[in-house]
């Protein structure tokens, strides 16, 4: 096999405002080789690949293709260099057949002939061992079939450098095996393949070499044959950094929320939570660590009554009555009245928590509108609360009547968390509460959570930064692909330990170790 570098990156840097997404990254892929790019969430893997496929343009550095310098300014340029990217979110038209999607947008000479295209598709499938019915409509396809269409689409366009962004995230183990056998065939055919992933076992299985990124920086490249999972984990998570987050000892923790063997599936029928059990204690911060999309969202929504469970129970130890309530049979409103508060920060903060076009006072009222006595709205109390939050949490806003949408991310978050805390909850769940916030705002949020913990609230904190989790939480629950892969004591655990648990896809150990 001819081993010339198909694509080589030299000192690529990309910044978004003041955030450095990629810093001095260099790597190369040869023909007939599979390179894995490994890194945690937010380590800049996808940004880097988007620069190769022409979606972003690098600020600094050079890209060489087949030894010649290349300027990739648009997806069309990337296509000219025979680079094909398979995105994590498929770009397909639902009501079209596989073939129609594959030829879409092509400016081929000659008559538009679906029959010929179908034959060409068929030939590609034969060559690499895909199973694909060219007539099948996309909306009747499984996720794996859709992915096959995407791969055939770039091959049809003659790509010989393929980039796959987390291709295995949505596949079942059998489908993954099929995909890998196809990838190996393409490697034999002399294609250069880059695969983005954070699953260590897959890296070990499929790739020839591994390049590791951490927080935008290029850490190094190793040959897969000469490394092991432990070394890769260490490269991926790095050494521990001290953050000096204040952490008090939990005061007489008592079980507040008990989750018993819950299972749930998403709309496509893929299992999102698989036999998850844990206990959250009052007066303690329970951290939840895991690769993005491992079931964190479903878990919190299950407790808040927003997610339908297939089986299992969520028991709430009611401090007022001393009885156990099963939350599964309750509506979100009933659960909230028991004192379970969900402060949810998904990708868009304004999605589930606040209404962007309403001002701070009105957003306060979203929680209390049903408490009014007359048929008119009671504005006094929410106004006082809004003023209080603005003072206390130093929300930067012209006044309490500013639409929330106009505030910066950190201030929106303060408003949301402030409102949730003001309702004196007994369970506070915060998902990525510091995502996108600057250091100072982050510390304000940490302090708020600590305060709640000292007041005897059971705090559940879903985070992505392991350093923060290790310093803020008392215990950390690690989930991987919907399973609980371990519970560790945050005071004694190491980053490597959690990193390994996070990337574990099989259930090896259950039960608490702390």
């Amino acid at each position: 096999m001819d081993k010339t570098a198909a694509i080589e990156l030299k000192n690529i840097t990309k910044t978004f405002g003041s955030v450095v997404a990629n810093k001095q990254v260099s790597l190369s892929v040869n023909r007939g080789e599979i390179l894995s790019i490994l890194g945690e969430n937010g380590s800049g893997k996808t940004t880097l690949m988007n620069m190769i496929s022409g979606i972003y343009f690098p600020d600094e550095g050079e890209i060489f293709i087949n030894g010649e310098e290349a300027v990739i300014a648009s997806p069309k340029d990337a296509f000219q260099y025979k680079i094909g990217m398979i995105h994590q979110h498929f770009k397909l038209v639902d009501v079209f057949s596989a073939t129609e999607n594959i030829v879409l947008g092509l400016e081929e000479k000659g008559r538009y002939n679906l029959k010929e295209a179908e034959q060409k598709v068929h030939a590609i499938c034969e060559q690499y061992g895909f199973e694909l019915d060219p007539h099948k409509k996309i909306y009747t396809m499984s996720v794996s079939e859709k992915q096959t269409v995407e791969i055939v689409k770039v091959l049809y366009r003659g790509a010989d450098i393929l980039i796959l962004d987390e291709p295995t995230a949505v596949l079942t183990p059998i489908e993954i095996r099929k995909l890998f056998s196809v990838l190996r065939k393409m490697r034999e055919d002399g294609k250069a393949i880059i695969i983005i992933t954070h699953k260590l076992n897959e890296v070990m299985e499929i790739s020839d070499r591994v390049s590791v990124l951490r927080k935008g920086e290029y850490i190094g490249t190793v040959n897969t044959a000469e490394t092991d999972e432990a070394e890769l984990t260490e490269m991926m998570v790095g050494k521990k950094i001290s953050l000096n987050i204040h952490r008090s000892e939990p005061k007489n923790p008592t079980p507040r929320l008990e989750v018993h063997h819950i299972n749930c599936s998403n709309r496509e029928g893929v299992k999102m939570l698989d036999d998850v059990s844990f206990t959250a204690q009052a007066g303690e911060i329970l951290g939840i660590a895991g690769i993005a999309g491992s079931g964190q969202r479903e878990l919190l929504e299950a407790i808040a009554g927003l997610q339908k469970l297939d089986s299992g129970a969520v028991l709430y130890n009611n401090p007022q009555t001393g009885k156990m309530d099963n939350l599964c049979s309750k509506t979100p409103l009933q659960i909230r009245e028991l004192g379970v508060r969900l402060s949810f920060v998904p990708e868009d903060r304004l999605g589930m928590g606040l209404v962007g076009n309403m001002d701070i006072v009105d957003n306060m009222m979203l929680r209390s509108y049903s408490k009014g006595k007359s048929m008119f709205l009671e504005r006094k109390a929410p106004r006082d609360l809004a003023e209080h939050i603005i003072d206390e949490l130093e929300v930067v806003t012209p006044n309490a009547n500013t639409p929330v949408r106009r505030l910066s991310g950190g201030n929106v978050q303060k408003v949301l968390v402030g409102r949730e805390i003001a309702a004196a909850p007994t369970v506070l769940m915060a998902a990525y509460p510091v995502r996108g916030l600057d250091i100072n705002s982050s510390y304000t949020i940490y302090n708020l959570l600590n305060e709640q913990k000292e007041n005897g609230v059971a705090v559940i904190f879903v985070g992505e930064d392991l350093d923060v989790l290790l310093e803020l939480c008392d215990r950390i629950l690690v989930i991987g692909s919907g399973h609980v892969t371990g519970v560790v004591d945050a005071r004694t655990a190491t980053k490597e330990e959690i990193g390994l648990l996070m990337t574990k896809t099989t259930v090896a150990e259950k039960g608490e170790r702390s």
Partner: protein, 315 residues
Amino acid sequence: MVAFIVSAIRLGMTFLFGSTGETITEKSGHLNLGIPGVMCVGASCGCFAEYLYLTAAKRSVEPILAVLIPILATLLGGALMGLIYSFLTVTLRCNQNVTGLTLTTFGVGVSDFMIAKTGAIYSKGSKYFTAALPFADDLGWFGKIFFSHGILIYLAIAIALISSFVLSKTRIGLNLRSVGENPATADAAGINVARYRYMATCIGCAIAGLGGLSFVMDYLHGNWEYCIDAIGWLAIALVIFTVWKPNLGIIGSIVFGALYIASSYITGVSFASKELFKMLPYIVTIVVLIFTSIRDKKENQPPQSLGLPYFREER
């Protein structure tokens, strides 16, 4: 009975123009509620052009020109409305529903002006549009139903068939449908979404405009006394009735035409029930809508991003 069918076809074809135009527009993801207005403007432009030509030509009227000039004027007027709509929704990113309804209000106003204020008489030009094929009378009822119509009726069928072919059998059609279904995907595949939306809307509006001309010059024989926006709403209903397929529209439009005029051919109905009869097409459309929703066949649903704007930067 033959007169009823002939009448149904002639009225139906005006719907067909509107629904073919609207289907093309909707396939690009534009829900154009301005079709009634577009048809009014189309009729106004065409009729006024005809009036101007006939006045200028006096005795030496060329029948071909008397037909071609109004058609061209109508196409131009319709396309101009489409251009306004596209400019507002694609370039300035206005809400599609509001823009469409504004155009309808505008178009109704224009046609009211044309009827009442210009003093133009439109009935003279009508004979050039209703001229039947010469051998129609020799073939009895068969000739009456199939060959007695004016040129616009055949044009409507031809346009519907061509549109149907282009949409389902050509690369342009495939690209256009992808723009209406999933513009982000189309964009990633290198298709110029804005250009396709502009083109589809302008062409669609030009075709819909012909519906207005056909209604006034053919169906009303030029006796244009009232506003014609009602046929525009029926054309939009027809798009749903025919599940976004112009070739089905040929049959659907005749059914609509028959339902709409049925009351006039049934003796002994009061004025009130006559108006109720006119609701039939809408009721049938609702039934079709319910039926296709229940069956939930994806191909029979509206384009997925119908009515939604597309900006590349927004996620």
